[in-house]
């Protein structure tokens, strides 16, 4: 059955959303979710929260399905004789940035080029030492005066690169972390509208995950869910990566295990995958999940959390790679997990 996942994912990847400036992606999600839910709103922090009522008796428990809307990016930090210095929004290295086409979201869209100045213009570096991010410049081809008329300090800078099909079923491009997760919860919602579910389902498109997790902190408070499943990305295996820390593309999502995951939620997610005969891999999270689960779990009086992560290669670069089937599997597992939630399920969350 065609699910238009490709179209949705490419559309989401095209939209800019550095942390704190997620409006364009939020609008797109509202368009996708509105016909399928009973209520939809924005939180004061900017997250999109949509509720689809379950069939169960009131007061119904609720399950929050989240994915963050923001992606790593840059911001204009200073004018430097016709060039821009940059600040990073999110965790990244300088090498994959050098030579990238970017868009500066100023008074209008200004195309630019991220460049590494010649060695003679840089502080002395050890041989093969990478350039610090602050050493890079953006060249727009504009005069200093033109540039300052269009761009202000703090304006977002995003990669100017469309998603590209990389062989059958694989997509490469920027911001797959975490547009893949948003696409997955959207597919799960669509699947749930085709049947019935007891619990209320709350979808959360969250802000500012890459810079500290404002969306996670606040969305859980705003929705007070019984439990939450956080859909995000994990390290896809590519050539030369450490095997035990990475997950093969096409091998299904990982299911986080550790302090940030409730053991019952973890187990129910595993069982959901098993019922569908879909692959799912345990991902050890010895301390933190490095996702919104870390905030959502301890919000309010505590939330039972589960972590489902989609493998993505080259995370935090302009050429992240994802397998569309992994997104579909994630959606199917999450939908099956939700369908299986009944009145008993809420009680099973008590830790004996």
């Amino acid at each position: 059955m065609p699910d238009d996942l490709l179209g949705l994912l490419l559309d989401l990847m095209r939209l800019p959303a550095i942390p704190g400036r997620e409006g364009a992606v939020a609008d797109r999600l509202e368009t996708a979710w509105r016909p399928l839910v009973d209520e939809i709103r924005r939180t004061p922090a900017g997250s999109v929260v949509a509720t689809r009522h379950g069939r169960g008796r009131k007061p119904r428990p609720s399950v929050l399905l989240t994915a963050h809307m923001d992606a790593i990016g840059l911001a204009a930090a200073d004018f430097e004789s016709g060039f821009l210095r940059i600040a990073s929004a999110g965790h990244m290295f300088s090498e994959p940035l050098v030579g990238q086409r970017v868009l500066i979201h100023g008074k209008r869209l200004v195309p630019g080029l991220l460049v590494r100045p010649p060695d003679a213009c840089l502080p002395p570096l050890k041989e093969d030492e990478p350039v610090p991010l602050g050493g890079l410049l953006v060249d727009t081809g504009l005069s200093p005066r033109q540039l300052q008329a269009l761009v202000r300090i703090g304006d977002p800078i995003t990669f100017d690169r469309m998603g590209t099909q990389l062989g059958p079923g694989l997509i490469a491009g920027p911001a797959i972390d975490n547009r893949a997760g948003l696409a997955a919860i959207t597919l799960a919602l669509k699947e749930l509208t085709g049947g019935t579910h007891e619990w209320d389902v709350v979808l959360g498109g969250l802000v500012q995950e890459e810079t500290g997790g404002l969306g996670g902190r606040t969305a859980a408070h705003a929705t007070a869910p019984t439990l939450a499943v956080i859909v995000d990305t994990t390290f896809g295996r590519s050539h030369g990566e450490v095997e035990h820390l990475t997950f093969p593309l096409g091998g299904g999502p990982s299911n986080g295990w550790g302090p940030a995951a409730h053991p019952v939620v973890h187990e129910r997610l595993r069982q959901a995958a098993e019922r569908l005969d879909l692959p799912i891999t345990l991902e050890p999270m010895p301390t933190f999940s490095e996702s919104d689960a870390d905030r959502i779990q301890i919000s309010g009086s505590g939330v039972a959390t589960g972590c489902i992560f989609i493998p993505v290669r080259n995370m935090h670069s302009a050429v992240e790679v994802v397998d569309l089937d992994d997104i579909r599997r994630t959606a199917a597992i999450v939908a099956e997990f939700v369908r299986d939630l009944d009145a008993e399920a809420a009680l099973s969350l008590d830790r004996g």
Partner: protein, 362 residues
Amino acid sequence: MARSRPSRTAQRSHLALLRALTEASGVSGDEGEVRRLVREQVAPMADDLQVDSLGNLLALREGRGDRRVRVMVSAHMDEAGLMVTGAGADGTLFLAPVGGIAPYHLLGKMFWIGKDRSPGVIGMTPPHLAASAERKALAVEQMRMDIGASTREQALSRVRIGDRATFATPLARMGECVSAKALDDRLGVAILIELFECAPTNIDLLAAFTVQEEIRARGAGAAAQRLDPDLAIAVDCTPARDLPTWDGSENTTYNTHLGQGPALYTSDRATVSDRRLLEHLEGAARAARLPYQLRQPGGGGTDAGPIHRARRGIPSASVSVPVRYPHSPAGLIAVDDWRNTILLLHAALSRVTPATLARGKR
């Protein structure tokens, strides 16, 4: 075909040609796609056209009258890039550089591979998994191209060992500039095509679209040998390293400045420009009120290297368009520099007479 003067501004057709030329793949030794584009453009006007065994495309446009000087103008069709040298069991491709490309330019970029332009990416370890202290610069030979294949067989059903790969960069306008891959030297190729279209009639114009410049200028010598010109000008691109320094000190190694006009060479590592030609170019620029700059002498080389050593020695000089970030995913040129280069070349060739190379002026 009517001969006219080159226009001061970049017309839509000029940009369309530059787009086609820069987006074509032409890694050294594999210039066929570029050569076909060049042939389409110059064949209708050429009085003679041949392709030699190396792949140099040589086109003659005859002038009128006698005492015509035979002027060779060269621009190289090839670009620095990559060759696929194998496929691993995990479906990723092994690579080797062709020409000078800094390995850091490859990480996190997208590429076009082979005749079908199959997409591929060179990834890198995410920052979360590589403490910055352990970050090591990778050599090209240690990198892998990811084409979304998961086995060697799958990979080799999509690309072939020996295929060339280039940066996947479409041309874009940026302010008063143009950004594209392979501006070095497709911009020179575009300029030479335009010069051929409006060739001055006082000379025989011998246009040489050369191969293998990026791997020690191996193509142009054979072209000069065959064409036997009286003098030669290599049209190329040269780095504009005119960026601000980290500590605000003066940048004294800029090589050239973007936007300050065509760069004339006094000397580089391969050639000392013929003094008479250099003065002729400067005189033409002054007479036509065109800006120009002298490239800082030092490293680098152009097709003038092998050309001026050909036969009994051919008086040669180089004229380059300043380009920022050559041999990277995307370079940048000023449209004014492009137009002023074609205007200067046209003005200079229009004034060439046998007296240009008169003895004693040297």
